[in-house]
Assembly symmetry: C2
Homo-oligomer: 532 residues x 2
C-alpha cells in the first residue's frame, strides 16, 4: 500500500463505538449513519463504526454505510477483539465477522496489562501474545489494514512494563500498522504519558497512537503530550462523548494540532466547519451541545465582564486566543446586569442598532434587563426577546401585533388512556376580537395552533414560522412542581432562526410568553408594521 499524505498523521474518530458508551447516548443505525456523514464532512481520516458481529446494530451499520454513505475523506474501521484463547483466528466467528463487515480497516482490542490477561481474559501471558500476533497476521493476509488498541496500557505499564512492550512488539511484528496505547481508566497526567510514549517508541520502533479517557480532566493534554513524544495517530470522539467522564474531545485536539502546533491534520477549511459539525452531532445524539466546550461552545467566545467589554471595543484580538471564525464560531457580548452599559451598546451594535449617542436610553435598557433578570428572565440565549425589549424602550411602546384578552389550555387523560389537548385563545388584532380553539399533541402545541388559527388570516406570514426548538428550565430545583419555569423557544422562517424567552410560575404560561415574543419578532423581521 502506498502511503498517502493523510496517512502521515491519523485523526481517528471513535464516536460511534467508544463515544456511544456515554451515559445517556443510545444510537440507532440511522443516527450512526448521520454522524458518520458529519465526521466525513469534517474530514477525519478514520471512522470506527462499531463492533460488527458482536452488536447486531453495528453489523447493520456497516452494511448500510457501505451502500449509502459516499465517504470522501474517511475510511471505515471495524472494531473487534483478538481471537479467543485456544481457537485459530480463522475459526473464530467474532474475527470472521470483522471480515464480513467489509470494512477496509480493523481496529483490534488487545490486552496489554498482565493482570487483565490473567483475571479478565483468564489465559496465560504467552497465549495472549499469540492471540495478538495470530489475529493481526490473519487479518493482514486477508488484505485489511490493522490497528491494535492496547487496552489498559498505561496501568499495565506501571506494574509490568516489559510485558506491555512485548504486546506492542507482537502486534507490530505481525503487521499492525499502528499500535495504540490506551489510557482506558483515564488516570494519567500529561508528563507520564509523554515519558511512556517516548520509552515505548524507543524500545519497539512501532508506529504509535494514543487513546485517552478524561477521568483526570486531562484527555486533550494527554493526547497532545503523546503527539509531542512521537505518536502519529490520535483516537478521539466528537464533543468528548464516552464512558464515565468521556474520551479525548476531537475538536480541541485537532484545533490545538492545527492552530497551536502548526500541523496539517485535516483537509483545507475543515476547522471553519468545526462549530457547525459539533452542534450537528450533538443534535443527532440528542444531547444539548455543551455551551462551555472549548472552541465550539456558544460561550467559548462570549464576554460578559464589564471590564473587558469596554476594552474589547479597542481591540478584540487582545481578548481572544484565536479568531473565533477560524473554528466557525463568533464573538458574543452577553447582556447581563454584571456587564452594564458597555455590553448593551455592543449588543445593540451586533443587532444593528446604534445606541452610543443615547446615554439615557442605554440606562433604561440596563435597568429593564436587571428588573427582568431578577424575575428569572435571561437574555443571553434569547436575542430576539432582548431586541424586542430594546425596541420597546427606544420607541416608548412595545412591538405588538395583537393583544391577548385571555387563553385556556386543557389536558385530559381519558379512561381509555388517550389524551385530549385543547386550547382556546381570545385576542384583539386590528380592532377585531378573535376567538379560536385548536387541539394539539400537548397543551403548548394546542396553544400554538390556536394562535395560528386566530391570526393567520390577518398575518399570512405566520404560515412560514415553525417552532424548531423548545427548552424548559426549572429555575428553583428545590421546590419541586412549585418552581418558576423558564421556556426558551427557537423559531424559524425557513431562512433564519430566532430565540425568545418566557418566565412564569407554570410551564404553559411561560411558553405562551415565549410564543408571543416569537411571533412578534418574526412579524417585525418580516417588515409588518406594529399594531395595537
Amino acid at each position: 500500500m502506498t502511503e498517502t499524505p493523510e496517512d502521515r498523521f491519523h485523526v481517528f474518530d471513535t464516536t460511534l463505538r467508544d463515544g456511544a458508551q456515554r451515559e445517556g447516548i443510545n444510537l440507532s443505525v440511522s443516527d450512526k449513519l448521520a454522524i458518520a456523514r458529519h465526521l466525513d464532512d469534517f474530514g477525519v481520516g478514520f471512522i470506527e463504526g462499531g463492533w460488527p458481529g458482536a452488536v447486531p446494530r453495528d453489523t447493520e451499520f456497516f452494511r448500510r454505510a457501505r451502500e449509502e454513505v459516499p465517504f470522501r475523506n474517511a475510511e471505515l474501521v471495524a472494531f473487534g477483539s483478538t481471537r479467543k484463547a485456544g481457537v485459530r483466528a480463522e475459526d473464530d466467528p467474532q474475527v470472521l465477522a470483522l471480515l464480513e463487515s467489509k470494512a477496509p480497516v480493523v481496529c483490534l482490542v488487545a490486552k496489554s496489562h498482565d493482570r487483565h490477561v490473567e483475571l479478565a481474559l483468564r489465559t496465560t501471558l504467552e497465549e495472549n501474545l499469540a492471540m495478538v500476533a495470530d489475529t493481526v497476521a490473519f487479518l493482514r493476509e486477508q488484505g485489511r489494514r490493522v490497528f491494535v488498541d492496547c487496552e489498559h496500557f498505561f496501568d499495565g505499564y506501571k506494574g509490568n512494563a516489559a510485558y506491555a512492550k512485548q504486546v506492542v512488539s507482537a502486534a507490530h511484528e505481525a503487521g499492525a500498522e499502528v499500535v495504540v496505547l490506551c489510557d482506558t481508566n483515564g488516570g494519567m497526567l500529561p508528563d507520564g504519558v509523554r515519558d511512556v510514549v517516548a520509552e515505548v517508541l524507543a524500545a519497539t520502533g512501532a508506529r504509535l497512537g494514543m487513546h485517552a479517557q478524561d477521568d483526570t480532566g486531562c484527555a486533550v493534554a494527554n493526547t497532545l503530550a503523546a503527539v509531542d513524544a512521537g505518536a502519529t495517530h490520535v483516537q478521539c470522539t466528537a464533543n468528548g462523548y464516552g464512558e464515565r467522564v468521556g474520551n479525548a474531545n476531537l475538536f480541541p485536539v485537532v484545533a490545538a494540532l492545527e492552530l497551536k502546533r502548526g500541523m496539517k491534520v485535516l483537509p483545507d477549511g475543515a476547522l471553519r466547519e468545526m462549530t457547525r459539525i459539533s452542534h450537528a452531532i450533538a443534535e443527532v445524539v440528542n444531547l444539548t451541545p455543551s455551551t462551555h466546550q472549548p472552541y465550539v461552545g456558544v460561550s467559548a467566545f462570549a464576554h460578559k465582564a464589564g471590564l473587558h467589554a469596554s476594552a474589547i471595543k479597542v481591540d478584540p484580538d487582545l481578548y481572544q486566543h484565536i479568531d473565533p471564525e477560524e473554528v466557525g464560531n463568533t464573538m458574543r457580548m452577553l447582556v447581563s446586569d454584571m456587564a452594564g452599559r458597555a455590553s448593551v451598546e455592543l449588543k445593540g451594535r451586533e443587532l444593528g442598532i446604534d445606541l452610543s449617542g443615547d446615554r439615557a436610553l442605554v440606562g433604561r435598557v440596563v435597568d429593564r434587563v436587571k428588573e427582568q433578570e431578577l424575575k428569572g428572565y435571561s437574555y443571553e440565549a434569547a436575542d430576539a426577546s432582548f431586541e424586542l425589549l430594546l425596541r420597546a424602550e427606544a420607541d416608548g411602546a412595545p412591538v405588538r401585533y395583537f393583544r391577548t384578552e385571555s387563553w385556556r389550555a386543557i389536558v385530559e387523560d381519558r379512561p381509555d388512556g388517550s389524551h385530549a389537548n385543547e386550547a382556546t385563545v381570545k385576542l384583539w388584532a386590528k380592532g377585531e376580537r378573535i376567538v379560536a380553539t385548536a387541539e394539539g399533541k400537548g397543551p403548548v402545541h394546542a396553544l400554538d395552533r390556536a394562535l395560528r388559527v386566530a391570526l393567520e388570516q390577518i398575518y399570512p406570514q405566520l404560515a412560514e414560522f415553525e417552532l424548531v426548538d423548545y427548552k424548559v428550565r426549572i429555575l428553583e430545583g428545590t421546590h419541586g412542581t412549585e418552581s418558576t419555569t423558564r421556556v426558551l423557544v427557537t423559531t424559524s422562517d425557513g431562512k433564519s432562526e430566532w430565540s425568545t424567552v418566557g418566565v412564569a410560575d407554570n410551564v404553559i404560561a411561560a411558553s405562551w410568553q415565549a410564543l408571543d415574543d416569537a411571533y412578534a419578532y418574526g412579524l417585525l423581521r418580516a417588515g409588518v408594521e406594529s399594531q395595537e
Copy 2:
C-alpha cells in the same frame, strides 16, 4: 509573618470573583456567603470574594462574610486593581476600598502585556511598573498580605518577555508574597506553560502562582504543568466555572495534586467531601451539576459497557483509576440496552435484589428496558422507576396502590393577567372510587395536590412525601412543541430521596406518570402492601 504549613502551597479559589463571570451565573450576596461556607468546609486556603468598592454587592459580601462566616480554613481575599495612572495609591478610592473591606489578603490585578498597557490602560510601560510597585508597597505598609495577578502574562511574554518579567520583579520587590501568571485568554498548552514558569522563576526568584483559563481544554493540565515547574499557588474555581469556557477546575486540580502527585494541599479528609461540595455549590449557583465532570460527576464512575460489566464483577479496581470513595463518589452500573444481562444483575444487587439465579427473569427485564428505552424512557437517573419495573417482572404484577380512571388539568390566563390552574383526578383505591379537584401554582402542582387530596385518607404516608426536584427534557428538539417529553421527578420522605421517570407526548402526561411512580415507590418503601 511566620509561615504556617498551609502557606507552603496555596489553594486559592476564585469562584466568587472570576467564576461568577460564567454565562448564566448571577450570584446574590447570600449565594456568595453560602458558597464561601462550602469552600471553607472543603478546606481551600484562600477565597477571593469579589471586588469591594467597584461592585456594590461585593462590598456588602465582605462586610457580611466578616460578621457571619466563622472561617476555619480560608483567608478572605479582596480583588482589586493597581492604582490609576498619575494618582498616588493612598489617594485612589478603588485602592482604599480594598482596605475598607478589611480582607486580610488583597489580590491585585496588574497588566503585564505591553500592548494591553498601551491600548487598554493607555499609559506608559514605566508608569505601569510604578503603579504595580506603589500599590503593592502601600498595601503591605497597611499590613495586608498581597498577591499580584499578572493579567495576559503568557500572551505578553510571547511578544515582550523582558517587560513581562519586569512586572513580576516590580511586584516581587515591592513585597508581593506571590506573583500569579495568568493565561487570561486561555490559549496555552502545558508544555508552553511549563517552560515560561521555569524561565520566570529562574529570572526573578519570585514565588509564582498559576491562573489558567480553559479555552484549549487544558486548564487543569496547564495548572499542573506550572506546579511541576515550580509554582506553589494555584487559582481555580469550583466546577471550573468562569468566563467563556471557564477556569481551571478546582476539583480535578486538587485531586491530581493529592492522589497523583502525593502532595498534601488540603486538610485531612477533605477529598472525601469533594463530590458533595461540588454538587452543593452547583445547587447554589443554580446550574445542574455536570454529570460528566472528572471525579465528582454522577457518571464519573458509571459503567455501561457490557464488556466491562461482566469483568467488573471480578475486580472493580481493574476498571477505575482511583477508588471513587476517595473523592466521595460511588461506582454505578447503568441500566441500558447496551449493557444487557450483566448490568441488570449488578443493578439488582445494588438494589438488594439477587437475580443471579433467574436467567429468564433477567432476560425479561432486559427486554422490557429495551422496549421502554425505545419510547424515550431512561432509567439511568431513575432508579426508583427501574426498581418498580424490576419488581413488576419478578412478581408478575405491577406495584400499584391506586388505579387511575382519568384526570384533567386546566390552565387559564384571565383578562386581568392572573392564572388559574385546576386539576381533577378520578381514581380507584381499595375498591373505592374517588374524585378530587385541587388548584396549584401550575398544572403539575395542581395535579400533585389533587392526587394527595384523593389519597391521603387512605395512605397517610403521602403527607411525608415532598417533590424536591422536577426536570423536563424535550427528546426531539427539532420538532418544536410537538416533541416527546421526558420528566424526571425526585421525591423525598425527609430521610431519603428517589427518582422516577415519565415519558409522553406532552409535559403534563409525562409528569403524571413520574408522579404515579414516585408515590408507588414511596409507599412500597414505607412498607405499605400493594393494592389493586
